[in-house]
Symmetry: C2
Subunit: 339 residues, 2 copies
DNA sequence: CGCTCACATGTGAACGGTAACATTCTAATT
DNA sequence: AATTAGAATGTTACCGTTCACATGTGAGCG
């Protein structure tokens, strides 16, 4: 890039007007005569002028930039939320600066850098119940617009968009009950994540409505990865606990579960039914095609961006919590209980 | 956020020094006495001062921000490249502004907005051979640092990082040949993408080295999606073309291929061998576990960011092309030809 | 014909940093 | 004690916009 850029003043000279008039043309102010507007536009084209958003940000005090903090970018859940948030943000005139915090230690650093860059607001994915995320609280109190996305603590004080995970857990369990299963195992995610707790609540609610005694041995721990579910299932089988169905709290764990069951000579769904959660893109291409709970990925991002931009533009609006519906997707990994 | 922010001058007054001294402290200039440095640092802490990167960008003429244009963010290939590029960029003091162009029409718009935001350089993923990407050429000529990532045209004039797709195609085909297959189908991606052509070249090279006549009916078209491969396989079966192995040019198509074959009563790998490309995260959890060609996802992003930052900081360095190695990952979707 | 008013355009000062240069201070050297 | 180099600190201008206000212009009216 040639070092010195073309400024509004160069355009002004070329068009024989003042720099302010050029500014007015750029910002579509009504106060400009068609003839001068034309002259200015010609000058802009001729010189190849490009407005400097940095300078504008400086003068106006806002950047039209949103910060987005996510645990990572590769997990389909997050990437699709970010993609949709970005599309919506751009529609509203905002750009998104993404940053991922592989370890929670990175969060304060990331936050700092984004704040130094004067983002107008913050989109925070999976704000875990972790002290490193507590840095956000004073910020929010001081008036920085923030929206929590997915898996969020139930806080009245901050806007958030999350799925109705309790209902999701309920739907999954309910479906297995309908098929006649009563010994239903659930493989949960990390306990400090809100959605783990909610899905578990849904699971318990369904069981208790069906008057089934809840065995604590049927709730086993995973970490969302396929491998963790595989290990968990092996231990389960070794313990000789009786069960006929497994509700894995995400699809990756469901897939790991199926693999482990098959490795032990059990058939899915004939011997054991398995249901997942998320409906990841290739869910229907696994064997058997995965029955699962779908979350509306596109709406997370869209609502998140809308909520955030709204609270930037109307600082007085009070925080809102959006709760999205989940949906049972029946495929072939669950079958009626064989007696 | 309280409307008026704390500036370098507020800190200066508080510490009883000039604003320039504060600036020197912030930028770790050596020219500051320990005692004044301490006074300034205390003032910074006391006032909760935060440097304004926007103002700094304005004064210095560069933003320490990289633009990254990608067809989408959800595809694992892209998201992992972006994640790694971001990690590396941050290490080097840069942030990444991501933008995705769902349609190629979006590219010029995205480019415009990023240029208006004065990004210091541009990372372009999958710059297809498409007129909309030609907007980049004059930019590059004018000295804007740009790095093409993955699937790039072979241009000497611009830095790029891509995998050795020809060798990847060769490795896949070679492996099938080793297993005794001679009628090898390949399902390709869109023809205007460089990597499609390269993988196809590798496929042809392997066949020709094995002195096998190349039937054009064995090269069939997909669009990278599992569904497209399913349809392609159905047509192939309907045409009664004899074949015993399929090289799908990505894993999603491989998975779609396996599904379609099974739906027609064929077993994988006993009747037909299938090999994919990419080694997506759950590749080993499909049934059968996918044999595939792995690309080094992390290195794409890392090298891309390094190359870009280097050419920003040393405008005189000439463009470099990095070519990454691919690797055959043997799992269970391929078997020796049954005679 | 002069006055008013509304609209079009111009002027100068911010915004919060850094760059370049000027000045002051310190301590070593003469 | 005067000189002086070199380090520490200060001063002023500038980066490219927008904002607030000032000024210019022309139509409409009595």
């Amino acid at each position: 890039m040639s070092r010195s850029q073309i400024t509004i003043r160069d355009v002004a000279i070329q068009a024989g007007v003042s720099h302010q008039t050029v500014s007015r043309v750029i910002n579509n102010s009504e106060q400009v005569t068609p003839s001068t507007r034309k002259r200015v536009e010609d000058a802009i084209k001729k010189l190849g002028y490009r407005p400097n958003v940095i300078a504008r940000s400086m003068a106006q005090g806002h950047t039209h930039t949103l910060g987005c903090i996510s645990p990572n970018l590769t997990n389909y859940i997050f990437s699709s939320i970010i993609e949709n948030a970005q599309a919506e943000a751009r529609r509203l005139g905002f750009f998104i600066l993404t940053g991922f915090a592989s370890s929670a230690d990175d969060v304060p650093l990331l936050l700092d850098e984004m704040l130094n860059r004067r983002v107008d607001g913050l989109l925070v994915l999976n704000p875990r119940d972790d002290e490193r995320y507590l840095h956000l609280l004073p910020l929010i109190e001081s008036g920085m617009p923030v929206v929590y996305l997915k898996n969020t603590p139930k806080e009245e004080a901050v806007s958030s968009v999350c799925a109705d995970d309790q209902n999701g857990g309920y739907l999954a369990t309910q479906y297995l009950l309908e098929l006649g299963h009563t010994n239903i195992v659930t493989i949960i995610g990390p306990k400090n994540e809100e959605c783990t707790q909610d899905r578990l609540k849904g699971y318990r609610q369904a069981l208790s409505e069906a008057s089934i005694k809840q065995e604590e041995t049927l709730v086993i721990k995973g970490d969302w990865s396929a491998e963790s579910a595989g290990r968990a299932v092996q231990e389960l089988l070794a313990s000789a606990t009786p069960f006929s169905a497994i509700f894995a709290q995400n699809d990756r764990m469901a897939v790991g579960t199926i693999r482990a069951l098959r490795d032990s000579g059990l058939r899915v769904p004939q011997d054991i039914s398995v249901i997942g959660y998320d409906d990841i893109p290739l869910a229907s291409y696994f064997d058997p095609p995965l029955t699962t709970i779908r979350q509306p990925m596109d709406e997370f991002g869209r609502h998140g961006a809308q909520l955030l931009v709204d609270s930037i533009q109307n600082p007085k609006h009070s925080p809102r919590q959006v709760r999205l519906d989940t949906q049972l997707i029946k495929r072939n990994s669950c079958a009626p209980l064989q007696s």
